[in-house]
């Protein structure tokens, strides 16, 4: 199969909502992962007036081999960033915000307090905003995970990205499969009402049974929302695509995931952690409440 055929085809269509998002984030000098990762969903999300803010700069201290975000030595944190993000949220009229970040191993708390400040700045400006944060592993520091959890966000996401066996080849050497599971486990322990979420990229060379094992592992630490998506190679510097999954395989994995007990599953080649995040959260909460577990404990 040629490389062209494994790539998504996107119609370049920029509407007024798209330009509004572009203008807002550019004028406030905020980075978005939509841009940083050359995300193919940019037309959909920006066209619907939403974006995923990437805080703590656009340069990551880690070198994961699937990711297009710039790597290197980051600039110092912008102390005004939490306010800028809050302003962008208010200007775009978002009622659901997804935040993500680069990894900041250079900071003593990995940026946990900056994350927390950003969540609080958003909530101060508009209290009812639902906030989802896709966080780094903070090198496994429980204290740092708690700092983010205690900021008052509703959804905490942390990605295991791939199966156990492939983790050392796919993620930065400082990342770890067990470490990521423990971040998710600890977040849930720190606040049982928190909705937790994790993503797995398919097509990096994993086997079917390894995927099932990864899903089981995520459930064993109480993860509520699972995102399964196809890996697309962003440039020649990243790992090649080992397999393109068929839609029927996505459907089958989705069924298995629901059987394992996830409250909501987003399974689609173009799904990304923050894609259709509000829908996923609403559906997950409805299901959790219907089952009477967790949030009302």
């Amino acid at each position: 199969m040629s490389q062209t055929r494994v790539k998504p085809r996107l119609r370049v269509r920029l509407n007024s909502e798209y330009y509004k998002v572009a203008r807002t984030v550019a004028s406030l000098g905020i980075a978005t992962v939509c841009e940083g990762a050359l995300c193919p969903n940019i037309f959909t999300c920006w066209g619907e007036g939403t974006a995923t803010f990437m805080i703590m700069g656009d340069t990551c201290t880690r070198g994961c081999r699937f990711c297009y975000v710039k790597k290197g030595v980051p600039d110092p944190l912008d102390p005004l960033e939490p306010y800028k993000v809050a302003l962008a949220v208010s200007e775009l009229g978002l009622d659901y915000v997804t935040l993500t970040s680069v990894d900041r191993d250079d900071l003593p708390d990995g940026g946990a307090s900056h994350f927390a400040r950003t969540v609080r700045a958003i909530k101060r400006l508009k209290r009812e905003t639902i906030v989802e944060a896709l966080i780094p592993d903070f090198q496994g520091s429980r204290r740092d995970v708690e700092t983010v959890v205690e900021s008052g966000l509703e959804v905490l996401a942390h990605n295991i990205e791939t199966v156990r066996r492939l983790t050392p080849a796919v993620r930065d050497r400082r990342a770890g499969y067990e470490q990521s599971l423990s971040v998710l486990e600890h977040a849930k322990k720190a606040n049982s009402r928190l909705v937790t979420k994790s993503s797995i990229l398919l097509g990096l060379g994993e086997e079917w049974r390894e995927l099932i094992e990864a899903m089981r592992d995520l459930r064993s630490v109480g993860v509520d929302i699972l995102v399964l998506s196809q890996y697309f190679r962003p440039s020649k510097k990243q790992l090649p695509v080992a397999k393109r999954y068929r839609l029927s395989e996505f459907r089958e994995l989705e069924r298995k995931a629901y059987k394992l007990g996830f409250s909501y599953v987003v399974a689609h080649p173009l799904a990304r952690t923050s894609f259709r995040a509000k829908e996923a959260y609403m559906a997950a909460v409805a299901r959790i409440e219907a089952q009477g577990r967790g949030r009302r404990a």
Binding site: T4, K7, C34, E35, G36, I42, R233
Partner: protein, 83 residues
């Protein structure tokens, strides 16, 4: 004189990663052909996706990029004479 429209690779695609490059992999229309608004003129392959560039207007193509050409944001894909 009929108006002329330039079709460019939008600068607003992943604006902060403005340095991206792509290659024209397919051209659907040739010079002299009529195009209608919304019709795909050409496809650009970037590493992560194939972008379909559509005509912003009805008209006749007076210039179009060739397959294999390297493009980046702001590159001209086509010129269309309107009306």
């Amino acid at each position: 004189m009929a108006s002329r429209t330039e079709v460019r690779v939008p600068l607003d695609l992943w604006p902060r990663r403005g340095g991206w490059k792509g290659k024209v992999v397919k051209v659907y229309k040739s010079v002299g052909e009529r195009v209608s608004k919304g019709e795909v003129i050409a496809e650009i392959e970037i590493e992560k996706a194939v972008l379909e560039i559509e005509s912003p207007t009805d008209g006749v193509l007076v210039e179009v990029a060739s397959e294999g050409e390297e493009v980046s944001p702001e590159s001209i894909i086509a010129r269309i004479e309107g009306g």
